[in-house]
């Protein structure tokens, strides 16, 4: 199988200053020599608690965070060396779906404008072609073309997340980074969105990097999983194998903490 993304020793340190006069500086290793690879067409889940560096990892892959060290090879190209037009064309291939559907859509734009923006940035054909493409995608995620005139506040959380997904997919990316895409949703909506993501993966041959803190979801969506803690990669492997036979103590603790598994009353 072809490797779509390969990273080598990613490192990022944030400096925290404490105290008003003393200026004590502490280094926080958000990413500490993280290396992994994702095969094309598969889903890699990243699990870890808050502060484990999952989101820094996601942001670094779309170059929203500058890394201190390491290299990222995407589709054979070194992502961190790119600049200008070349970077822009690669960005088209890596899109992101965000956690909070309430915060990630501009309240002053209607859905048509929201969906058109990525197409305009990447100079996609003419007005009619854009419109057609947008209608196509909005229907594909389960909304109607007549919804395009509406504004984000007129939709429910699940519908907004669908719009976020349509916006991410409209450029037909190769890699989609999903940063806790269902954490803010009810279980019934969560099931719908997970199914939609799975169907879209099959249809467009997408590769997902799926960030979550819910291990139950990992089992349902991921082929591979990596467990992070304090910026370090503590364990990585096939989902089934890791769940059946976790090697690292922290992974064991995480699996033990899944609600519904804690043995009652002991």
């Amino acid at each position: 199988m072809k490797k779509l993304l390969q990273t080598n020793n990613l490192s990022k340190t944030y400096v925290q200053t404490q105290g008003f006069f003393s200026r004590v500086k502490t280094n926080i290793h958000a990413l500490d020599n993280v290396s992994f690879s994702i095969n094309q067409g598969t889903t890699m889940a990243v699990v870890g608690e808050s502060g484990s560096g999952k989101s820094t990892l996601a942001k670094s892959l779309v170059r929203l965070v500058n890394l201190d060290a390491g290299s990222v090879k995407f589709n054979g190209v070194d992502l961190l060396d790119l600049e200008g037009e070349k970077l822009k064309s690669v960005r088209k291939d890596i899109q992101m779906i965000f956690q909070d559907p309430y915060a990630s859509l501009n309240p002053r734009l209607n859905i048509l404008q929201i969906m058109e923006e990525p197409l305009l940035i990447h100079n996609y054909q003419d007005n009619d072609a854009r419109r057609k493409k947008i209608e196509n995608f909005i229907e594909r995620v389960g909304l109607k073309a007549s919804d395009l005139k509406k504004y984000p506040h007129q939709f429910s959380g699940g519908q907004r997340q669908r719009i976020g997904i349509a916006r991410a997919l409209i450029l037909e990316p190769k890699l989609v980074i999903c940063d806790e895409p269902v954490s803010a949703l009810d279980v019934s909506v969560q099931a719908q969105i997970l199914k939609l993501l799975k169907d879209l993966q099959r249809e467009f041959g997408l590769t997902y990097l799926f960030i979550t803190h819910d291990l139950r979801i990992v089992r349902h969506v991921a082929d591979d999983v990596m467990v992070m803690r304090h910026g370090k990669l503590v364990e990585e492997g096939k989902t089934d194998i890791i769940f059946k036979n976790p090697k690292n103590q922290y992974t064991k603790d995480l699996i033990q903490s899944i609600p519904g598994l804690i043995s009652k009353r002991n």
Partner: protein, 279 residues
């Protein structure tokens, strides 16, 4: 020991503006003494409103009717002064967001102390001693007494909230999604802590959540709410393993399970509506 500590009869909550809309629609249930009852439901099902109405913290724009009997006393008919006596002393509440429910400019020691002082006239040094005991009970080092909420982690803040709610040994604890904002490992700790305290202090608990995994861990009895109505109730294993109502069945089909690789089936609302009409 099968007395009902809380009994709710025909509770309805609606807006004052439009009396036709009932957010909570004629529900009745009871909480057994010494047991944990879980209310499960999606957002907008009315579970939090039900909880708030029990300690009379509903927004003034909402109106409630019905009967809420706590130890055979009707809470609905109490004056503001009488209910204030009950809050914290007999009925305590833990909220979802520990950061927004603690005061950021007061130390946690002061805030716990305040919770005790409202309901007792113990001398200062005895109250201080009690605060230390409470902190030990929830597993926070006593040195953190003079810390401010922002110096604590999310799990520690929720522990402080639990310490405050435990301060007067309440008979009933209402917990409104107390672990939703926390990491899984911390969630497991907090659930265990609540369960331990419940048996140690012989308390009853009304636990609100949308997570069926949490229900499985902590509940004795379960109530499922949908659009302001109770659609199913019963003992925890019966509701989770052999649900009767179509909504409960459909909702359970959406829950990723902890062990196997069960297929997720999103709710088909047309089918669900038809199934409900047939009931």
């Amino acid at each position: 020991m099968n007395k009902d500590i809380l009994k709710i009869n025909n509770l309805s909550i609606g807006t004052k503006v439009d009396t036709k809309i009932n957010l909570v629609d004629n529900i009745s249930f009871s909480v057994k003494s010494g047991k944990t009852t879980c209310i499960v439901g999606e957002s907008g099902s009315g579970k939090s409103l039900t909880a708030l109405s029990i300690i009379r913290l509903l927004s003034p724009q909402l109106e409630m009717s019905g009967e809420i009997l706590f130890n055979n006393e009707d809470i609905c008919n109490m004056s503001e002064l009488q209910i204030r006596e009950k809050r914290g002393l007999d009925i305590a509440m833990i909220f979802q967001e520990p950061m927004t429910s603690l005061n950021p400019v007061l130390t946690i020691g002061y805030q716990i102390k305040e919770a005790i002082a409202v309901h007792s006239d113990l001398p200062n040094n005895e109250i201080n001693q009690k605060v230390e005991e409470l902190l030990m009970l929830v597993g926070i080092p006593v040195e953190r007494l003079s810390s401010y909420p922002d110096e604590l982690s999310g799990g520690q803040r929720q522990r402080v909230m639990i310490a405050m709610s435990m301060s007067c040994n309440p008979k009933l604890l209402i917990a409104d999604e107390p672990t939703t904002a926390l990491d899984v490992t911390v969630q497991a700790q907090i659930l265990k802590l609540l369960d331990d305290l419940k048996s140690k202090l012989n308390m009853s608990m009304l636990f609100i959540t949308h997570d069926f995994g949490v229900v499985e861990d902590i509940a004795d009895d379960v109530i499922v709410m949908f659009k302001g109505k109770i659609v199913e109730r019963g003992e925890v294993n019966q509701v989770l393993k052999k649900p009767k109502h179509p909504y409960t069945k459909a909702l359970l089909g959406c829950v990723p399970d902890a062990l196997g690789k069960k297929q997720l089936t999103p709710i088909d609302y047309e089918k669900l509506d038809m199934a409900i009409q047939r009931l």
